[in-house]
Structures are given as structure tokens and as C-alpha cells.
């Protein structure tokens, strides 16, 4: 124990090569082809869910959340407590419309509804936002590599960027769902092992952790303050956080792509559903590890590293048994690669589809577009690398990623909600709404108001301004509303459907799968809140 030994290096290399081999081997043969075409239908739902979790934020969570919990305890959970609510809204409102519209890029819907200008503006915002966030995602494994090897972090950023871009250009491995599942288990194993090791190294065991947490307010997860400058109040999480997560999971192409390409609405909803259930407990686990690390540092009289992102990787390297360290660090690398692969791929796909094939080379053959998508991957790799050099100054990586999203997400979501909910809104209004929404977010970011509220401000301004400006231009025609107006509600269609219904056989009792699913998410939200309130009440008693 105490260092990253040669055995750990061997384990790390074998693991990474093994995962790469599995990806390359099964990515080419018939089994994988079937899996690709089936959209994972032959794979258990839980495996798909874990795969979704792995591509979303696992490495960032593993590296950033313990440092975040170390600093502020469970109050940071306010950022994520709203995820089940956001997922429920997405499942009920947005996913059926996106799916029925038959779109490959989420921004295509905006073009049909508002025209090419709004589509390009929204896609551009996505590219800028996701490119910046990818810089933070790149920084995370680079930091781990720096901790492990002792090399300068700027050098490891460049190294990781070269590996990630090459890996994505060569095809990546994220299409092989089982490698993602392995990664998730390795990370969770690392998390649980760290808890066991920390508790066994404390004289009082768990009671030390709970005593420390209670004494320092680390279990105060629910802050009911109405003061908008309180960053992690429950209201900031509910008002701003819901908007942020709805926008992130619903309008960010890197996330919604899986839903758009799934063969049915139910499958598209499933990944959101699993995220809705698992994200909060996963975040709670890693924040709790942060509280345990704070106890551990206090009990052992240690000083925390200046950069709290290094906290947990350092602990893993110093405390884990030889060989296991290598395995867990390898899991972090593999998960980071999966996230980077997914992000770089969606950035390059949007660049080619929404800009290159649209404005520069509309009639080229697919070899040309494939080549263009590879160059786009290299470009976004460079863009992310440049930003990664500054990511260390942004504090905990998990907060940095969400803060970056908050600059853009509210205005973007506003454009989508206008498209779907207001049949009077038009391209002029939507584009103006996006611009004014972004401007209002920028103005709010100069104040002391919690960054979580930026999302709600961006949404509110974009919707209200977008609607009002829409009134200055003609209403959209029927064709522009085709994706968001439900054809079956037209009187002539109703007459036809009633006629067919009269001839059809009887099914039986009534139930609604989607509604049941969403009720489950609402219940999960309430349970999470009650558990946190109980923990807080117990700690303060």
C-alpha cells in the first residue's frame, strides 16, 4: 500500500487493453452487428441502464463528487435531487414528441418548427457548451494520471487528449454495452471498498463518521432558505436544477441521441427512467465518501490537497491494496474514455450533420462525410484540450461541468418548449428568446444569485421574450406545426379513428404504462427527500 506499484501498472495496462480488445473483437462481428441493429433489445434493461450511467458522468462523479462532499457535505445533493422529476417530465412531454418526429439530431425539430436559423443557433450553442464540458471531462482522467505518475497535469491532459481522440476516431468501444457495465461495477466496487477501508482505519468506525458529519453539518442536505444567493438550497435545486437536468437530458444531443436512435418510445424512455432512479443514490454514495474522507483526514491529522479533485484518487493510490489500485484507476480511465468517446462523437456528428453537410458540402458521398466527421473529432479534441488546461481552476469537476451547462441550458430548453407548447411562436421569437435568455443568464452570473437559478432565468426569459417577439411576426403554418401538433386530434381524423375503433375487438381494463412509470419516479423523489430529511433530523437531534 501507499503507492502506485508496478503491479498496479500491469493491472491497469491489462484492464485497458482487455476492454479495448473486447470492444474491437465484439464491435466487428455478427453479434455486435445484431446488437447495433436491435438497439440493445436482446440485452437486459439493467445492463443498458448501467451503460447509460457509464457514458453519462461516472469518471467525473468518481473524481469530483468526493471532493465536493468533503468540502460541503450532502448539501450538494440539492443539485441532483430533482433528477427524477426532470426525467418524469421528459418521459411524458418531450420523448414522445421527439420520437414521433423521426429526427436524428434534436436540432432538426427546431428547423422544422422555426426554420434553419434557429436550428443552427441551437446546434452552435450545443457545440460550444458540450465542447467546454468535454474539456472538463478530459481534465478528470488527466488529473488521475498526474496523481498516479507524478507527471505535470498539462502533460497528462495532452496525453489523454491524444488517446481519447485516437480512440474515438478508430471507432470507440461504447457501442459494446457490457464493457460499460464492467466499468460501472469496477467504480462502485472501488467506492464500496474505499468505505470499508476508511471505516476500518477509524478508531470508532462508523460512529466516528456520523459524529463528524453531525458536528460539522455534513448531513444537512436540505436547506429550505428562500435566499436566492444560497447556492445549494432545496429551492435552487428544484427550480433551477429541474430545468438544468431537463435541458441536459432532453436537449443535449450527446444525451438524447440514444433516445432518438432507439427503436421504440419505451426503449427511449427506459434509459431516462434508469438514470432517474440511479443518479441520486450514486451521487449520495460519492458525496458520503467525501464526508468519510473528511473524517479520515481529521482523525489522521492529514492536510487535504489544494485541488480537491485529487482527494479521492490520492486516497485510492495510498490506501488500496496493491493491484486493486490499478484496477480501480483503470476503471476510471475506461469510464472517462467512454464519456469522452460519446461526447466527441456527438460533437462531430452535429458538426457534420447540422453545419458541414448543410452549408458547406450538401451533396458529398458518405466516405467524404466519414472523413469530415473524423476531422471534426480531431478539432473538438483540440478545443476540449485547450479548455482542459483551465479546468483545474474551476473547482470540483462535477460542479464545473454543471456550471458550464447552466450558461446555455435554460435558453436552449426555452426554444424547445416554445416549439412544442406554443403554436403561435415562430422563428423570429425563438431565436430572439435564445439570445435574450443567454444575455439574462450572463447578467445573473454577475450577481451573487446561485448558479442553479441561472437555468430557470434563462428558461423564463427565453420563453416569455420568445413568445412576445413571436407576436410581431406571422403565426407558423400547418406544415411547421406538423411535428408538435397531434394529427389524431384533428376533427376529420377523430371521425376516422372512432369509426375504426367501433369495428375493433375489445381489449379490456385500462392502464397506462408511461404514467405508472412517471408516478414511480415521483415516488422515488419523495422517498429520497424523506430519507435525507430523516438523516438531517437525526444528525441535528
Amino acid at each position: 500500500m501507499g503507492a502506485f506499484t508496478w503491479l498496479d501498472t500491469v493491472v491497469l495496462i491489462v484492464y485497458v487493453l482487455g476492454i479495448a480488445w473486447v470492444g474491437a473483437r465484439f464491435g466487428k462481428d455478427q453479434e455486435s452487428t445484431q446488437d447495433y441493429f436491435l438497439g440493445g433489445r436482446k440485452i437486459p434493461g439493467w445492463a443498458i441502464g448501467l451503460s447509460v450511467m457509464a457514458t453519462q458522468a461516472s469518471a467525473i462523479t468518481f473524481i469530483g463528487a468526493p471532493g465536493w462532499g468533503f468540502e460541503g457535505g450532502l448539501e450538494r445533493l440539492a443539485v441532483f435531487i430533482n433528477v427524477p422529476l426532470a426525467m418524469a417530465v421528459l418521459i411524458v412531454v418531450l420523448v414522445p414528441i421527439f420520437h414521433r418526429a423521426g429526427i436524428y439530431s434534436i436540432y432538426e425539430l427546431l428547423e422544422r418548427r422555426f426554420g434553419p436559423g434557429t436550428r443552427s443557433l441551437a446546434a452552435l450553442l450545443f457545440l460550444v457548451a458540450r465542447g467546454l464540458a468535454t474539456g472538463v471531462v478530459l481534465y478528470a482522467p488527466a488529473l488521475v494520471l498526474s496523481v498516479v505518475t507524478g507527471w505535470d497535469v498539462n502533460l497528462t491532459i495532452v496525453l489523454m487528449a491524444v488517446i481519447a481522440v485516437s480512440y474515438t476516431v478508430l471507432g470507440g468501444i461504447s457501442a459494446v454495452i457490457w464493457t460499460d457495465v464492467i466499468q460501472m461495477f469496477v467504480l462502485w466496487f472501488g467506492a464500496i471498498l474505499s468505505m470499508v477501508l476508511m471505516v476500518s482505519s477509524l478508531p470508532g468506525g462508523w460512529s466516528d463518521v456520523f459524529a463528524y458529519g453531525a458536528a460539522n453539518g455534513s448531513f444537512d442536505a436540505i436547506d429550505l432558505s428562500l435566499d436566492p444567493t444560497v447556492t445549494y438550497s432545496l429551492w435552487a435545486g428544484l427550480i433551477g436544477g429541474v430545468v438544468m437536468h431537463m435541458a441536459y437530458f432532453g436537449t443535449d444531443q450527446s444525451q438524447i441521441q440514444r433516445v432518438l436512435t432507439s427503436p421504440s418510445i419505451a426503449e427511449g424512455q427506459r434509459s431516462l427512467l434508469i438514470g432517474g432512479y440511479l443518479l441520486v443514490p450514486q451521487m449520495l454514495l460519492f458525496l458520503f465518501i467525501g464526508v468519510m474522507l473528511a473524517t479520515y483526514y481529521q482523525q489522521h491529522g492529514l492536510s487535504a490537497p489544494e485541488n480537491l479533485n485529487e482527494l479521492f484518487p490520492r486516497y485510492v493510490v495510498e490506501a488500496f491494496p496493491i493491484g486493486v489500485t490499478g484496477l480501480v484507476i483503470a476503471g476510471v480511465f475506461a469510464a472517462a474514455m467512454s464519456s469522452l468517446d460519446s461526447a466527441l462523437n456527438s460533437l462531430s456528428a452535429v458538426t457534420v450533420r447540422d453545419f458541414y453537410a448543410r452549408y458547406l458540402k450538401p451533396e458529398a458521398d458518405e466516405h467524404h462525410y466519414l472523413k469530415a466527421s473524423r476531422w471534426a473529432t480531431v478539432f473538438w479534441g483540440l478545443y476540449a484540450t485547450l479548455f482542459a488546461f483551465f479546468a483545474g481552476n474551476l473547482g470540483p469537476v462535477i460542479e464545473a461541468v454543471n456550471r458550464i451547462g447552466s450558461w446555455f441550458y435554460g435558453a436552449l430548453l426555452g426554444a424547445f418548449l416554445l416549439a412544442i407548447l406554443s403554436h403561435r411562436s415562430n422563428g423570429r421569437g425563438a431565436a430572439t428568446g435564445i439570445v435574450l435568455g443567454m444575455a439574462s443568464v450572463w447578467a445573473v452570473s454577475l450577481t451573487e444569485i446561485s448558479w442553479l437559478y441561472q437555468n430557470a432565468v434563462g428558461l423564463g426569459v427565453s420563453v416569455v421574450a420568445g413568445y412576445l417577439v413571436s407576436l410581431t411576426a406571422p403565426a407558423p403554418d400547418r406544415a411547421q406545426l406538423a411535428d408538435v401538433a397531434i394529427d389524431e386530434q384533428a376533427p376529420d381524423m377523430q371521425a376516422i379513428l372512432k369509426g375504426r375503433r367501433g369495428q375493433a375487438a375489445v381489449v379490456g381494463r385500462d392502464a397506462r404504462l408511461t404514467r405508472r412509470r412517471c408516478l414511480g419516479l415521483l415516488l422515488w423523489f419523495v422517498i429520497s427527500l424523506v430519507v435525507l430529511a430523516w438523516l438531517q433530523g437525526w444528525a441535528n437531534a
Partner: protein
């Protein structure tokens, strides 16, 4: 007038009934939706999948299917729906490109132009009665709800209901 091949129905009425019930449907019927399909595969090789679409669909349906399609069988009494004409081959190629850019795999596989044909896709249609009658389109293969096909089915039902197109019922204009 055209002959169509078909994808074998894999979901029987009781299973469809149970599925549709969970989506809130009170009544149901079986249907065949005629779409235009182009095989995805290596040149001269077995089709790995089919892209299925019509001119009224903004996105093609990707159907995993490594075997050959069946010849159209006897009239089984199911509602026959014609969803429109064939999209140009270039459109199929573009759809396949977007599919792969979204999930960059299978670059070796191409749309096979010579395979373009009309294909009947098995569906189960559910009807739920609330304030308005709602249509639920269920795949006759997987039993999943296929919202993306709903515009095509509604358009076909509309076409079927207009007197000029009544002759497109099964057994009248189909060989």
C-alpha cells in the same frame, strides 16, 4: 398495383392485447403497413437489416433482419394500410449515413439499391377512448409502441377512408 413481401408477424393477438392494455387501449385490431424497404449489408451478402420508410416518414425505421423477407401470404383479415410511395434511394443512403454518424459503427455495410421493394410490416393498432380517441401503434414483431410510425399510419387511415382510395383495401388492388 404492386406486390409486397412481408415481415412475419411474431406477436400474437393475446400478447398484443396484453401489451395494448398496458398502454391504455380498449380496442384493437391487426394491420399490415406497406413501407418501402432497402437492405443494409455487404454487396452480394445477406441483408443484415432493412431500412423501411415512405415519402411521408421523416426518418426510416431500422429493422434488424438477417434473413430473407417472406412472400405475401393469404389474406388474414388484417387491415391493409398503404403509407405512400418510395423515397428516393439517395434518401435511404442519407438515412443510413445519419444512423452511423449517430452510432459510428458498421461503416462496411451499405444500402443495397437492387433490394428496394415494398414490404408489409405487421402492426397492432390500439384505440383508447378518452376525451378523444387515441391511436396506439404497436410493432407486430417486438410489441413495442412505435410512435415514429404513427404519422404514417394516420396518413394511411386517412387515405383509406377517402372514397377514391377505398380500393386499396387488401385483396382489391394488391397482387
Amino acid at each position: 398495383m404492386r406486390s409486397a413481401r412481408r415481415v412475419a408477424r411474431q406477436l400474437d393477438a393475446p400478447a398484443a392485447c396484453s401489451r395494448l392494455r398496458s398502454y391504455g387501449a380498449e380496442r384493437f385490431e391487426s394491420a399490415w403497413l406497406t413501407l418501402w424497404a432497402a437492405a443494409i449489408g455487404r454487396r452480394g451478402g445477406e441483408p443484415r437489416a432493412w431500412l423501411m420508410a415512405t415519402t411521408v416518414m421523416p426518418q426510416a425505421l431500422l429493422l434488424p433482419h438477417s434473413g430473407a423477407l417472406e412472400a405475401t401470404g393469404e389474406d388474414d383479415g388484417a387491415l391493409q394500410l398503404d403509407a405512400g410511395g418510395p423515397p428516393p434511394l439517395a434518401q435511404f443512403e442519407r438515412w443510413w449515413l445519419w444512423e452511423r454518424l449517430g452510432r459510428p459503427r458498421q461503416w462496411a455495410l451499405r444500402v443495397q439499391p437492387e433490394t428496394l421493394c415494398a414490404v408489409d410490416l405487421p402492426l397492432w393498432l390500439g384505440y383508447s377512448e378518452g376525451r378523444q380517441t387515441q391511436l396506439i401503434v404497436l410493432s407486430g414483431l417486438s410489441g413495442e409502441a412505435l410512435g415514429a410510425l404513427k404519422p404514417a399510419v394516420l396518413s394511411a387511415l386517412h387515405r383509406l377512408s377517402s372514397p377514391a382510395d377505398h380500393l386499396s383495401e387488401r385483396g382489391v388492388d394488391r397482387v
